[in-house]
Symmetry: C2
Subunit: 139 residues, 2 copies
């Protein structure tokens, strides 16, 4: 996928404000949600104006599926989890993005969804830096 396809892509400022950069994969920017309650990654395909899954070309959708797999493996490598949750909502931030969240029975939102559940608890700086380091190594 060429650089030109990324032309005009700018990360939505609300996603930027809530997350820490982990990596740029082939299609997606990989972000860690800064919420100590859940191991939670967000994949943002670097395509300007994409809001719905089918705004991506077919080969990009396949790539996104592959990157969701990678995100699932990354989360399993850094956290124990009972279930992975995957969501593409976009009701508030329209820029296409995929949530991949490691869930534990009894976690702060269990068994409900993480979206709209209470308020994020930012990580302490040292815990955040350690986790970001692990994720960058695993990515």
């Amino acid at each position: 996928m060429s650089e030109s396809k990324e032309h005009g892509f700018v990360l939505d400022p609300r996603l930027a404000a809530d997350t820490v950069f982990i990596a740029d994969w082939h299609l997606s920017r990989v972000l860690l949600m800064d919420d100590a309650r859940f191991p939670w990654l967000i994949l943002v395909p670097r395509r300007a104006s994409a809001a719905e899954l089918d705004d991506l070309a077919m080969d990009e959708r396949s790539e996104l599926l592959h990157e969701i797999d990678r995100a699932m493996s990354m989360l399993r490598s850094i956290a124990s989890c009972d279930k992975l949750n995957i969501g593409m909502l976009g009701n508030i931030v329209r820029q296409l993005h995929v949530h991949v969240v490691a869930r534990r029975e009894g976690d702060a939102a269990w068994p409900g969804p993480v979206w709209g559940s209470g308020s994020a608890i930012p990580r302490a700086a040292d815990a955040r830096d350690m986790l970001v380091g692990k994720l960058r190594t695993a990515s």
Copy 2:
């Protein structure tokens, strides 16, 4: 995908109780959530024991992606919507299933997720039958 791969598949009784059968596609059983608040389809890959996306083989994941596209198109054909929401949660029902939901600004859960939002409002029988007929024709 052969019949043998479906061996042992039984729809989870909680999914069965909350939905109406629409069709069996190549991989997934297609169900309409019986909730008048939202146009809401559920795709259930007919594979016994699948709980996470990566419990499916790669070709099955690609097929699921294709069927999610079809479900999005079906919803657009029967309802106006401002955003489509796609979710794979499985915190309550572990059998792998994909929610595809047509959302309108100002709907009963907007801008939050539909999952865990209030209680389903079953459709009146005639409205449900009409919608099911449209979906079966479109499927």
